[in-house]
């Protein structure tokens, strides 16, 4: 019983320490940022931080208010030193990592002014942070502008995905070195992440891809649609979270969840029927031998009931 209580405490402590909002902690350099939901200032659509970095890259976050003189000064520098600078290198840093500038508008109620500011300084993606709830995770004491750089690149050798690489509150400007010098040093330090084949990560023994198709020698050919969704050359669309090279637990759009293994295939266990079937591809299509009723069935017979 004591062991269970210890486990409970460890779990609770782990949960709260990973929630900066609840614990009152803030993100600092080295923290891993959790996903956060925003409203796109230009379109009104909901977008998340992880959506914005879904394709990897370096996220350069710049909070601004249209009336803020420091924001004016810094935005001009960031426009030329970051947005336009990386625009000339195909939007990538010197390691080929995409650089994405994201502006966060902290002043609500002034749509035209906020938009004019964004357009004037070449902001592409602008999201709302009117109540500064996301801002406060980095700088609870207020102030602006705020700059944060986050690595969205998975498997980068230089930092973890969603790790905070740089934060800077306020823009001293004027007599200080230009902000782009600081930002670019961090941005250019991020190296490209190793490309991980999602299919091979689950099925290390898979063959391919050959023209987009993978082969599990005992299960057949399938294409990665949006893994774990795949298109199987015989079964059609499957949800294939997989277990190992030799065991497949998959969801067929018509048959539901089914189990197959290298040892028993083409025997397949259908969870919805709670029985084993023997699968055979014939000239008239798929045939399934019901091992309980001892009859061959076509897929419509099984799915229909």
């Amino acid at each position: 019983m004591k062991k269970e209580w210890n486990l409970l405490w460890i779990t609770l402590i782990g949960c709260f320490s990973s929630l900066p909002v609840l614990s009152g902690q803030t993100y600092a350099v080295g923290s891993v940022v959790e996903d956060y939901s925003f409203t796109d200032f230009k379109t009104g659509e909901t977008v998340s931080l992880y959506d914005l970095g879904a394709d990897g890259g370096v996220l350069v976050l710049e909070w601004y208010a249209y009336w803020c003189p420091f924001c004016f000064d810094s935005a001009g520098k960031v426009e030329s030193g970051v947005i336009e600078h990386y625009g000339m290198t195909n939007g990538e840093n010197n390691h080929g990592v995409p650089v994405k500038h994201i502006a966060l508008n902290v002043q609500g109620g002034a749509e035209s002014q906020g938009l004019a500011f964004a357009n004037n300084f070449g902001f592409g993606t602008v999201v709302e942070d009117f109540d500064r709830s996301f801002f406060n995770l980095f700088s609870p004491g207020g102030g602006q502008p705020l700059f944060v750089i986050i690595n969205a690149e998975a498997n980068s050798p230089t930092s973890d995905q969603w790790e905070v690489l740089y934060t800077r509150l306020n823009y001293s400007g004027n007599f200080d070195s230009d902000i782009d010098v600081y930002l670019r040093a961090v941005i250019d330090g991020v190296e490209k992440g190793e490309v991980v084949d999602a299919v091979k990560a689950v099925f290390p023994g898979v063959v391919g891809p050959v023209e987009g198709y993978y082969q599990l020698p005992w299960f057949g050919w399938f294409a990665d649609i949006d893994f774990p969704w795949v298109y199987h050359t015989e079964f059609g669309y499957l949800y294939l979270p997989g277990q190992s090279d030799s065991v497949v637990i998959t969801y067929d759009l018509e048959l539901g969840w089914l189990y197959a293994s290298e040892s028993y295939y083409p025997y397949v266990y259908l969870y919805s029927q709670a029985r084993w079937y023997y699968y055979q591809e014939g000239s008239l299509g798929e045939w399934w031998y019901d091992t309980k009723d001892k009859v061959w069935k076509q897929i419509g017979d099984i799915a229909g009931g």
Binding site: W67, P69, V106, G108, F130, G142
Partner: protein, 366 residues
Amino acid sequence: MKRVMKYGYIIAGLLGASVLWGQMLEMSSEWLEAEDVRLMTGSVSGKMELSEGLELRTEWAFNSIDFDYRPDPIDFSQMGGERNEENQAVSLRLRKELGKWRIEGTGTYYRGYRSLSDAWLDEFYGQKYGANVLPGVHYEVIEPRGYGGTVSTRWEYLKSTGYVSLGLGMIQDRVAPSYEIDDLLTSFELVRGDQHLSTLLAHLTFENVVTKRIRVRHAFSLTDTSTRDVRLGWTGDLLIALGDDWFVRTSGSYNEEGTTFISRAISQSVEYSIGGGWSIGVRGRYYEDTGQIETALASSAAPALITRELSATVRWISEGERWQLMLSGGSYRTRYDPIGLGTAEFVHLYADRNWTLVRSAVTYTF
């Protein structure tokens, strides 16, 4: 045209009063022009004796401020353009001589912006916050105005050689306020600085004829304006007559407010009488301060300033001293320290400028 007519009536009234009952009429003007700013000041004053030992002096002053409003180039939300502001002031002074004592009272009323800085900042705040989209206060168009009065007394404690005077005064100003964003951590709101300023003044002045050719004057002042620290000041003048034709005046001043603001100035003028009522002179003045004290909220405070003025003067006094004419021209340079944090938007207000300076005065004594 309407405005010119109105001024015309006032001037005509003053002239008429001075001619009918007056003793002296004086008109003066000052013109300061830089590349983007023109400041003009004119005044007409008359003096008349109401009864024995009781003198009334009236003055009407007109001040014009023309400038090209140039916002910080990076602030795309601001529009450049021309702005003209006019200020008028009237003042009355009543003076009574009572043997060794003199009692004096003045009253002044004005309308309009009193300085380039006030008008420029109002243009800035109007453009910046005039859309009134922020929570908090809203920007308001305000016509600055104010009134004030002083009472003073002078005591001749040494006959014709030693004077001491003490004065007290007050000024009530309604000013165009400054605006600032207040950070509430989860939102921002616009807040406004004080629109009403109340000032109390006091001065203690000593004037002495040290020798037949040397006069000195020391004035100590105290100024207490609401929202600001008390300002203490000293002004000193030393006037020396070198022979019958040369006159040398040295002046200095020192002011401090709180622990941060200090201003110092020194000026030197030399005048030579070339005969026939004509005299010529040169004047140089140097001023420096540590930066403006903000009346309310931070950020528009001027950085430290140094000014230098060099001018030449021609003066003519008619036989019998009924007419006096003065014409002065020169150069006036203002140099600010680099703008500080948060004041980049005021870069064109606190810009270095080279001014052309012309002053003139005409005095007629009846």
